[in-house]
């Protein structure tokens, strides 16, 4: 039978998780409780965190830090995070957004994890806490690459730099169901510009690989270029680099590969479709 442990501090929760392989952190419950309800998780301990730090938002400086327990609804309630509202609103309906946490989203399997795609395009770092020690920050991309292995510790917070210009950040979830649907794919782009040319572009995809991934080919194609027809063409041509999309109930691998360049081009061109 499952037990529940409520931890008043992140350190206590991290200690429990590192000491017991059958302990699972439960955030909003959208992943863990489903596993419980469906009988896939029947033994072990669910670890709850009530530490206020877990749901803290530091929005003051250029570097934003969001506790892993921050929910999508909390993001949507803050005007300072307006550039992230399309990503937060793409998660579930309002009830799910009250519950679903940023930390949980990092663990959602494909084609879920839409918010993580946005974080990836923001070059986010994940603050991990292993055992009772202090936290360490790792790049989100590295965290995702190691996700399948597990055991990285408790995700305490997520950090990223605020985009210089909110208009440089774009997010698009391609879904067949409106307004709330599961992703055919998810695209996010951070396109900082210096003197009309793109510098340090970050493009990320969801549902195009077992975890959200960076589109490095596209980033290279855009680097130092103005956002024009030529660079869009080059970006579309590089769109599929590194993609390993799956066939699932939503779409086939063929279809995902076929339409990714189309949706990427529309995203980069600012096409509202």
């Amino acid at each position: 039978m499952l037990d529940v442990r409520t931890c008043g501090s992140l350190a206590e929760a991290a200690g429990l998780l590192s000491a017991d392989r059958q302990a699972h952190l439960i955030g909003g419950g959208t992943l863990v409780m489903r596993a419980v309800n469906e009988g896939r998780l029947t033994e072990g301990t669910l670890v709850r965190v009530t530490d206020p730090a877990f749901r803290q938002m530091n929005l003051g400086g250029p570097r934003i830090e969001l506790g892993a327990g921050v929910t999508m609804a909390m993001v949507l309630a803050r005007g300072e995070l307006a550039f992230l509202h399309p990503a937060a609103r793409s998660i579930g309906g309002p009830a799910v957004r009250t519950m679903a946490s940023l930390g949980g989203n990092l663990f959602a399997g494909p084609p879920y994890g839409d918010f993580t795609v946005a974080l990836l395009a923001l070059d986010a770092q994940v603050v991990l806490q292993a055992g009772y020690g202090g936290g360490r920050a790792v790049a989100l991309e590295d965290f995702l690459a190691a996700r399948a292995r597990g055991g990285q510790g408790l995700v305490a917070a997520i950090q990223f730099a605020r985009p210089q210009s909110p208009g440089d950040f774009r997010f698009r979830k391609i879904s067949r169901v409106r307004p709330k649907g599961i992703a055919v794919m998810t695209l996010a782009a951070h396109l900082p510009r210096a003197g009309g040319r793109i510098a340090q572009a970050r493009i990320a995809y969801g549902a195009m690989a077992p975890t959200p991934i960076r589109a490095r080919g596209v980033e290279r194609a855009l680097e130092g270029k103005p956002l024009d027809a030529v660079s869009l063409q080059a970006a579309a041509q590089a769109a599929l680099e590194g993609c390993r999309p799956a066939t699932d109930a939503i779409a086939s691998e063929w279809y995902r590969r076929e339409v990714l360049p189309v949706h990427l081009a529309r995203l980069l061109a600012g096409d509202g479709r």
């Binding site: 039978m1 499952l2 419980v36 309800n37 469906e38 009988g39 029947t42 033994e43």
Partner: protein, 590 residues
Amino acid sequence: MLELRKDLFADERDDTLNVVGKSVQRQDMPGHVTARTRFFDDHAFDGLLHLKVVRSPHPHARIRSIDVSAAARAPGVKRVLRAADVPVNKNTLLSLINFGKDDEPALAVDKVCYVGEPVVAVIAESEAAALAARNLVRIEYEPLTPVFDVEEALKPGAPVVNPTYPNNYFEYHERFDHQKLRFGDVEAAFARADIVIEHRYQMSPIEHAPTETNGSIAAPEHNDRYVVHTCAQGLFFSLGTTAKIVNLESNRLHFIGGTVGGGFGGKVDSLTEPLAVLGAMLTGRPVRFVLDREEEMLYGSPRGAERIYIKDGLMRDGRIVARYVRSYFDAGAYTRLSSYAAIKCTAHIPGPYWIPNVASDIHVAYTNRCPSTAMRGFGITAVDFALEVQMDRLAEAAGLDPMEFRILNAYRDGDVKPHRRVAKNTALIECVQVAAEKANWPLSDQARRQSSLVGGGTGARAEIPATVLDQRGQIGRPESRGAPATGTLPAGAMRIPLTKEPVMEGTRDGRAAPVQVPRYAPAPAPGPAGPPPAAAASRPAAPPASSAPPFYPPAPSPAPVAPPPVAPPAAPPTQHGAMRFSSVFGTRRR
């Protein structure tokens, strides 16, 4: 967004009713909006137990062994059910109306035929305990080759899906591997047609996906009976099915339902009631068996897939002169309702059109997937898709507007349909005209002048044509599928007596009918057995006189292609009016 057009068919209707025809509030609406409506699961029981089933992970496998010892010892577990615990562990849904052979176990016996087939049931104090114990059941399987394609399944040598039907098809009339429809001579008409168009259509399965999943709660009642709260779409259907499987007299079951959270056909199958009642019998406690959403989506029996081939013979003026439909219902591993869907589909062909030569062969094939069942539009939805896309193609080939093409070929009052009965009360033409007008889709004056009341039932439209017969597709003889025609049934021949008028009892105040009530013709006097005179039965009354002659002249009668009439084959034995389908649909084995 609804508009009532009272001007059409106004002389067939009076509008003097008091409450019929009024938008009165639904009786159940206050309960719905206050959340006081009680669905089957909204009933409290002390000591409620929860049942979960272990399902097959294989589409086709022999069961080598089942070990439930760890599950039986698990915390909170009250009872584990296996196939041997089910009193009558073989049933077919339509056995209650004697339709088809028992072919499906409640819990699998020695092999599983689809992913999700129930093998073991665990009953425990809580859902969590039942789920935990379910993970402890150990079943060893020996995988067998599965078959998933309907046409592959019908090939000789295909893996046998359902041992009751070892050729992988439902057996019709103890004679054929499909249901036939024969009306006229389609081959001769194809040879004469200006254009012949043939296409293949496919509908994938569709899940009913009601927001309330299938389930029931069964509890011992004080008087040695069992009360069952259920979402069944047919209360007595489910009661009868359950009584048979758990081997109880039907009056020891008290089924309560009637308020269901969506069904669409997906709650006809009694998926949970038999095991819930059995659980209550064996534990003496209330037992709740509710499918979870994944079970509902994948194992709650869908609308089955259909593959449909349509071949049409078309004249350049837009008249369809022949239609042949060959289709395959994918029943999945067991029969459930697919056998009936094929009959309903047969009666529906060729759609709402008058075509002088029509034939169809409708097959029900078994494959290693979840058994399919009825759904909204049962037996019709897929073939309507195929027919209407085909009609779009035909209109294009004939160079006609699709609306005009429908009106040209529409059936009308008095036309004989291929199942050899006269069409009445038709209104397709009017629907096309009204939809076109509202959609701002221009129609010709000629098309706008057409009427369902006029032009049907004349000439060839009123005749049952001479019909070519065959013995193709005999059970167990796949080589007979390509056999030549065996003879011709003379024009006008009928073999099935007309059904009696509707039976109504309790109308003791015949004099004081309050308002307009259904009009019933007096029941026909009992006559001698055997086919009635064809001409009398098939020729409808003359259509109402009309000042406007029909624009579209009746199609020319098909050239006589029949060889000299031969004696029609003897009609199969039938038992009209008796509640037995067995003479038609095969012997029921219990």
